[in-house]
Symmetry: C2
Subunit: 182 residues, 2 copies
């Protein structure tokens, strides 16, 4: 039988190491391109993940434990990183994310046990949610945004692959989300 | 000025470490789902990356150096892993990929220098290509397929995120490639 809390924490613990392996010291030419037109560069994405550690998931877990569904979660700024991290390097942001994530996982382990997972909270837009759904979303949100980093990195070399582009869905989807690789 | 060969090799060297950080010892519940309906599980993807190391990019680089565009590249089996790796675990495949990649990068460094990058080859379907395009495609192919692993991993928890799914593009796109997150 799967252990939801342990398995979700396992994934959350991996993301900083994935970002380190992928990004630390990477030549600048790989990380100067957004995932799509008017999208986010890898640095923007890591900044958004920093925001999520500062203001989103752990804060909302605490909100559920304290207030249940009696008051909605506070909103947070999805674009906070654009100003806040203007002077930071992507390597600094990866390290910052790793520090915050380690603290938040430790905190989560102290605050939440299996018996809490069905406790309810109130999302300002989507309504009633559970703590289990919040934690699953935290993990899938990691996967979603790291995937966005891959799209930006691939896009940085769009002009270099020549005719092979027809086989590279990650490039085709930057131009047309419904594209299917040949 | 960017150094194409060094920067491309840098990316190729990272992928095994990204896969290790992401996958080694990961609970089975994260890796039992294909990236989309009738798609590939994370294990299938890693198996395809093993095939690429065995039969595709380095072999084609050698082909260009030896034959130029005088004869087309040999085809390879995009689905070879389905039979070949039936008994292997995903952790074994990650290790196998890492070994093959390390050898291929060493081999590439001995075989190819900057002056070779404009040498031409002949792809059986897309026609004339350059060694530079082949190497850029090798790297972007890594990004494309690791991204596919993320999609499968996210899909494994599709049912757990509740109403948050509306904000998670990586899940929405499994159902509808053109979907845009709310």
């Amino acid at each position: 039988m799967s252990d939801f809390l342990a398995d979700t924490t396992d994934l959350l613990r991996r993301t900083p190491n994935v970002l380190r392996a992928l990004l630390l010291g990477l030549p600048a030419g790989w990380v100067d391109t957004p995932d799509k037109e008017a999208g986010w560069t890898p640095k923007d994405v890591v900044g958004h993940l920093v925001t999520s550690e500062l203001d989103n998931y752990l804060a909302r877990a605490k909100h559920i434990l304290e207030y249940g569904a009696s008051t909605p979660f506070k909103p947070f700024d999805r674009f906070a990183m654009l100003e806040r991290d203007r002077e930071a390097t992507i390597d600094q942001l990866v390290d910052r994310f790793a520090d915050l994530r380690a603290k938040n996982i430790a905190n989560l382990g102290e605050l939440v046990s299996d018996g809490d997972l069905d406790r309810k909270g109130l999302h300002p837009a989507i309504g009633e949610v559970t703590l289990r759904e919040l934690l699953a979303t935290w993990a899938v949100h990691d996967l979603d945004h790291v995937s966005q980093i891959f799209a930006g990195m691939a896009g940085s070399h769009d002009a270099d692959v020549g005719g092979w582009k027809a086989y590279l869905g990650i490039l085709l989807r930057r131009d047309d989300p419904a594209a299917v690789a040949g």
